[in-house]
């Protein structure tokens, strides 16, 4: 094949291994994929921290975002920080409790105690609203929480 005898036709490059390569990539992405569950209705820029832990058991985590509504929702909800529970924006902080109870109801009974609430809060939000949310979480006895944050490279070496 490679020897040029006639020198007329170029040898074909074998593409037989192409599917294998593509499948390899495909499996990689299939494994790491987390389907986007809901679209963000509030803008969240995470605060920085160093003592981070990865959240395990994604199915046991319920998400709660707090921040100013995105441009799309500003006409409806204004620019003041709002609480997003799954795919809707809460009008009152008391809705957090029913939200937690609903989320807990979706889990198996044995796992209900392990439920974690991930607080995705914008760094500019004031503590007043956060402590109200925390009170609601305590009332709903959702005591395991997680403050979502980014890695702080400047401080991590200390």
């Amino acid at each position: 094949m490679i020897r040029k005898k006639g020198g007329k036709s170029l040898p074909k490059i074998s593409t037989a291994s192409l599917p294998d390569i593509v499948f390899m990539l495909l499996f990689f992405f299939m494994v790491v994929t987390v389907m986007r569950d809901t679209d963000q209705m509030v803008e969240v820029s995470y605060p920085k921290a160093t003592e981070l832990q990865k959240l395990e058991k994604k199915s046991l985590v319920s998400h709660l975002s707090v921040g100013p509504p995105t441009a799309k929702w500003q006409t409806k909800f204004g620019t003041a920080p709002r609480i997003q529970l799954n795919d809707r924006i809460a009008t009152d902080v008391k809705e957090v409790r029913t939200f937690i109870q609903n989320e807990r109801g979706k889990l198996k009974e044995a796992l209900q105690g392990k439920m974690t609430t991930s607080l995705k809060v914008d760094e500019g939000v004031k503590m007043g609203i956060i402590s109200e949310i925390k009170t609601e979480l305590r009332k709903a006895s959702a005591l395991k929480i997680n403050y979502s944050a980014r890695t702080n490279e400047e401080l991590s070496d200390q």
């Binding site: 094949m1 593409t15 495909l26 160093t50 007043g128 402590s131 005591l143 403050y147 890695t151």
Partner: protein
């Protein structure tokens, strides 16, 4: 090129790549690589009545008092402090063992009290909280290195619990007060 005697006819696999590409692109688009990372914390359970003040007998020296005001400024034990020094002073407080009369008697008795204003930003709150956790993590890690010769994270669960009992994280968070009137 020349085929050998007799072979089973090959299945044309040239479209396989196309199909795989299609799937690949789908997963590429739907992938979100960011892993949810954060500081794990446990809230105190809710008590219906007004909570009785914890540890009434807690000496003033055992409590490291941290105040954060609405301008995100830090007051530690009555003195203005930069957040860079917070980890150091917390470690000093925990590991004091009664040496300095201003700091705790023993790690078991040491309490960190964190008070916010309603107008404090969440970013500042979390960075303060992060520094406190960093202090405890370092103290625990040092203890674990000296006792077990291993990092805290590499210890067995039982030993981790023992280390936690030696250096318990006693963080008391008061309800934010509205000193400035800036919180909504």
């Amino acid at each position: 090129m020349a085929k050998k005697k007799r072979e089973a006819p090959e299945i044309n696999a040239s479209s396989m790549a196309d199909i795989a590409f299609l799937l690949l692109i789908f997963f590429l688009v739907t992938t979100t690589m960011d892993v949810d990372k954060g500081i794990v914390a446990t809230l105190p359970p809710w008590v219906p009545e007004q909570e009785p003040p914890e540890d009434v007998e807690a000496n003033a020296r055992n409590v490291l008092e941290i105040l954060v005001n609405a301008n995100d400024q830090l007051l530690v034990e009555g003195e203005v402090m930069d957040i860079k020094d917070l980890k150091g002073i917390t470690i000093k407080h925990i590991t004091n063992n009664g040496v300095d009369p201003d700091f705790s008697l023993s790690p078991q008795k040491a309490i960190v009290s964190l008070k916010n204003d309603k107008g404090t930003s969440y970013g500042r709150y979390l960075s303060v909280y992060d520094r406190l956790r960093a202090a405890y993590n370092q103290v625990r890690n040092d203890f674990s290195m000296n006792t077990y010769g291993k990092a805290y994270d590499d210890l067995e669960k039982v030993d981790q619990k023992k280390v936690r009992e030696v250096y318990p994280l006693k963080l008391s968070e008061a309800e934010p007060k509205d000193y400035s009137g800036g919180g909504q």
